[in-house]
């Protein structure tokens, strides 16, 4: 019996020692890579904000981050309002869709102050290579047709559904999902702009003497 106990102890000990060493090694690597990972994520986001707002002076302009939850949505969206010379320049909206072929993808949509789309950028997508991945403007011209259009004055749907958007051949689901994401972005944009303007129109408080 005593022998069995000692061998059981040996099993427990050897497994514990290996896991402790493995855990400390991982902790060390995590510590080293944490900053570069955060940095690369931040860079990617900042880059996307710049890319979807062509003409925005990032040196002197101000970018404000606002979270909004459009009615009927379960997830909030992040809107980056850009201001130059203390006036609204436009906004970049981080939006998503759950109607994609692979479930979900995330894009960034840039609007000018009137709500016209200035550009789109794919943040995170896993659509079929050669078909659905054409939502990325690097692969196909599909997303370029949105530029210069205002979702408020058009039907943000593919032509098959009676809308104004030419779908990607053989990737209707991805195209519909893209419209869905842009539409969601526009809703968020409208809410944010309304808030922004009501704040601006309020008289700035002057310290009374």
């Amino acid at each position: 019996m005593a022998k069995k106990d000692s061998s059981f102890l040996k099993l427990v000990l050897s497994l514990s020692i290996v896991t402790v060493i493995a855990a400390s090694a991982l902790a060390a690597v995590y510590g080293i890579t944490k900053d570069p990972i955060d940095q690369s994520k931040l860079n990617k986001k900042n880059n996307a904000i710049k890319l979807v707002q062509p003409g925005f002076d990032t040196q002197n302009g101000v970018i404000k981050e606002v979270k909004v939850l459009p009615e009927g949505e379960s997830d909030s969206l992040t809107v980056y309002i850009s201001e130059s010379d203390n006036a609204l320049f436009g906004a970049a909206v981080e939006t998503y869709t759950n109607m994609a072929f692979s479930g979900r993808f995330e894009i960034m949509v840039g609007f000018d102050k009137e709500g016209k789309i200035m550009g789109t950028e794919v943040l995170k997508a896993n659509e079929t290579p050669g078909l659905g991945d054409k939502i990325d403007k690097k692969k196909d011209n599909f997303s370029l047709q949105f530029n210069g259009k205002n979702p408020g004055t058009m039907k943000m749907k593919v032509k098959k559904d009676g809308g104004d958007i030419d779908a990607i051949t053989a990737a209707t689901i991805s195209s519909k999902a893209f419209c869905d994401a842009v539409d969601r972005a526009f809703k968020a944009f409208q809410i944010v702009v309304a808030q922004y303007e009501s704040q601006k129109s309020e008289p700035t408080q002057v310290t009374s003497n």
Partner: protein, 195 residues
């Protein structure tokens, strides 16, 4: 088995993909382009190499009853390291390989070599086996990835090949294309081995 044989074994005679037909999940899923294939192959090679060496080193002190959990812990540690390093320094590649990097943990090539080779052989031989198998795996992925990317997407390492423009065989970059290409290559390898 001579040391040279150990090294070349994984490349030709026991190529993990074409002959042993192991690790099919990443093989089929990530070989949509040559870059993905090489990224995946090298990541797996690193994990295979390190886990082979460590397991071979630990072999005298690992009790037989818990060897599999210990192998898995060692492999999972190296996979997590690869995952973090890729995310930190090559984010574009980490993104396109996605879930398949963490899935190296359950790649049967890695566990298979730990159990069948590293736990029975010297550290140096396990090291050679890790390199051989890893390069064999990378080579196999590269062949499939290149074929699918060139004929399915009309590009090579992302560079467009103008003479293929408009003649891409789209199915090759889709899931069925992976099975088709792999099937043909395995058939060719088999018939070459018979002769």
């Amino acid at each position: 088995m001579s040391k040279l044989k150990v090294l070349t074994n994984g490349f030709i005679k026991e190529n993990p993909v074409f002959v042993l037909v192991l690790g099919m999940c990443p093989t089929l899923a990530v070989t949509t382009s040559a870059v993905n294939a090489i990224g995946m192959g090298l990541s797996t090679t690193f994990v295979l190499l390190m886990s082979n060496v460590i397991i071979s080193l630990l072999k005298p002190i690992i009790p037989k009853e818990v060897r599999i959990p210990i192998f898995i812990v060692v492999i999972a540690t190296f996979v997590s390291i690869v995952d973090l390093v890729l995310q930190a320094y090559i984010p574009a590649l980490a993104e396109s390989l996605g879930i398949f990097i963490p899935l190296i943990v359950v790649n049967c090539i890695v566990l298979g070599r730990a159990e069948a080779f590293a736990s029975k052989n010297s550290v140096f031989k396990s090291f050679l086996d890790g390199i051989g198998m890893g390069i064999g795996f990378t080579f196999a992925l590269f062949v499939i990835g290149t074929f699918r990317e060139v004929f399915g997407g009309g590009t090579f390492f992302g560079l467009p090949l103008p003479f293929l423009k408009g003649n891409e065989v789209l199915i090759l970059v889709l899931a069925p294309g992976a099975f088709i290409v792999l099937g043909f290559i395995i058939a060719i390898v088999r018939s070459l081995q018979k002769n």
